[in-house]
């Protein structure tokens, strides 16, 4: 690893000031950052540890019709949380397959988003559920819909000094159907070759989040009527642009995307029928 300085600020203002400096990076769980530091993919002068910042919550709380997941919440906590399990099962399923037990005990949901991998495991579910990212600086806070958060592989709309303090999800007012699917080369500790989440509501709308099939995680919307036809499926998947890399070929990705999207739609439809 290269040499860097380390700071562990207590307040959001202090953290934000430190992160406004050139060559500073934020440290949350460190499961992506430490790998990047070791490979010298990033060479920061300063690492700003966010774990003691009191304004970044470690809790998952219901606030009215929204679920607020604090910026320091780790994956294993998400998988064990009753509100997440009850209202957002596809997110719980996604969090449960991130890395390994050891990784999930450190990796945060906010960090998974900020790392902005096209294959970010939790992104498809957050997209499909209509989540928003809460990004703060001492003077301002903004809510960014997840579909507007990513700008490319590893990049987001966050400005220097802006910190993700929470992720919020609207609690579905009615029963919905949901499914999560993920294709990997092996069962544990692998990045997704294709991942997706599918959310269906009783009014006939379908929302899909796709991972690892484009430069960023992607959102696509459709309707049950549209998805009764092959053309409807083609239109839905037109947003994706799979490439060939070490994990899978573009053709394979495209084929798996088609198969698993249809299966997820089927599973979510059955869930919705059973519940209504």
């Amino acid at each position: 690893m290269t040499w860097f300085e380390y700071q562990r600020p207590q307040s959001l203002g202090e953290a934000s000031d430190l992160l406004r400096k050139d060559d500073s990076v934020a440290l949350a769980g460190g499961t992506d950052l430490l790998v990047a530091l070791r490979h010298r993919a990033v060479r920061p002068a300063l690492v700003v540890d966010l774990k003691s910042v009191s304004d970044i919550a470690e809790e998952i709380e219901v606030e009215g019709d929204r679920l607020r997941i604090g910026g320091r919440v780790v994956m294993s906590r998400l998988t064990r949380n009753q509100h997440v399990g009850r209202h957002f099962p596809a997110l719980a399923q996604a969090a449960a397959v991130v890395g390994s037990v050891q990784i999930r005990n450190r990796a945060t949901l906010a960090g998974n988003l900020c790392n902005a991998s096209p294959a970010a495991d939790t992104a498809p579910a957050l997209l499909a559920y209509g989540a928003t990212v809460i990004a703060s600086r001492p003077d301002t806070t903004r809510s960014i819909p997840v579909e507007e958060f990513f700008t490319g592989p590893g990049t987001t709309v966050l400005e220097r000094g802006e910190i993700v303090t929470a992720v919020e999800l609207p609690i579905p007012p009615t029963t919905i159907g949901s499914a999560f699917a993920r294709v990997t080369r092996r069962r544990g500790v692998d990045l997704a070759s294709v991942s997706l989440a599918c959310i269906l509501d009783p009014s006939g709308r379908a929302r899909f989040g796709f991972g690892a099939v484009g430069p960023t995680p992607l959102l696509a919307e459709s309707t049950f009527d549209e998805l009764a036809t092959d053309e409807g499926w083609s239109r839905l998947l037109a947003v994706t642009s799979p490439i060939t890399d070490v994990r899978a070929g573009a053709e394979y990705r495209r084929a798996m995307l088609h198969v698993h999207s249809r299966r997820a739609f089927q599973a979510a439809s059955e869930q919705l029928r059973a519940a209504t």
Binding site: G30, L34, L37, V101
Partner: protein
């Protein structure tokens, strides 16, 4: 420019230790080279293999992905902190099940399995396999490792 070292104090295997470390030192490096506890192994050094697994504030983590400075005030258990003078029933079970071949992954396996059994005292075999999926054994001893854990967990897997 020389690295700015800072002093951190943490509890390792029940004893309070104060160590001066540079910011780029990982928890694993500090434990192995400064505290001279070499049971935890460095293998992939990027969170894939689990050979460096330690219990940090109650949860198993990859110590190669934690900076030593992050652990100021924390409680850490390494393989040396498991079992005291003798071996734990789990460690005995690894021996009787023939789960140990070259042995390199075993400290990480034992720490991860100890943490697993603390959270789920009577796991199913699939919970054991899932719970240890972050620990790689290149000898391929997975069946016996899982049998060793099941045996001590009161499971009925044959050894």
């Amino acid at each position: 420019m020389s690295p700015t070292e800072s002093a951190i104090t943490l509890t390792v295997n029940g004893s309070r230790r104060t160590v001066r470390v540079s910011p780029s030192t990982t928890l694993l490096e500090m434990v192995r080279t400064r505290l001279e506890l070499t049971g935890s192994k460095e293998c992939c050094a990027e969170g894939e293999c689990g050979a460096c697994t330690m219990i940090l504030d109650g949860e198993p983590v990859n110590s190669c992905l934690v900076l030593a400075v992050e652990t100021d005030g924390s409680e850490v258990t390494t393989i040396e902190g498991i079992g005291g003078a003798g071996m734990t029933p789990l460690q005995e079970s690894f021996l009787t099940a023939g789960a140990i071949q070259c042995g390199f992954c075993i400290p990480g396996m034992v720490v991860a399995a100890t943490a697993l059994l603390e959270r789920i005292p009577r796991p199913t075999e699939s919970e054991v396999r899932e719970g240890l999926s972050g620990n790689l054994c290149r000898c391929g001893g997975y069946s016996r490792i899982s049998a060793a854990v099941m045996a001590v967990a009161g499971g009925n897997a044959a050894t």
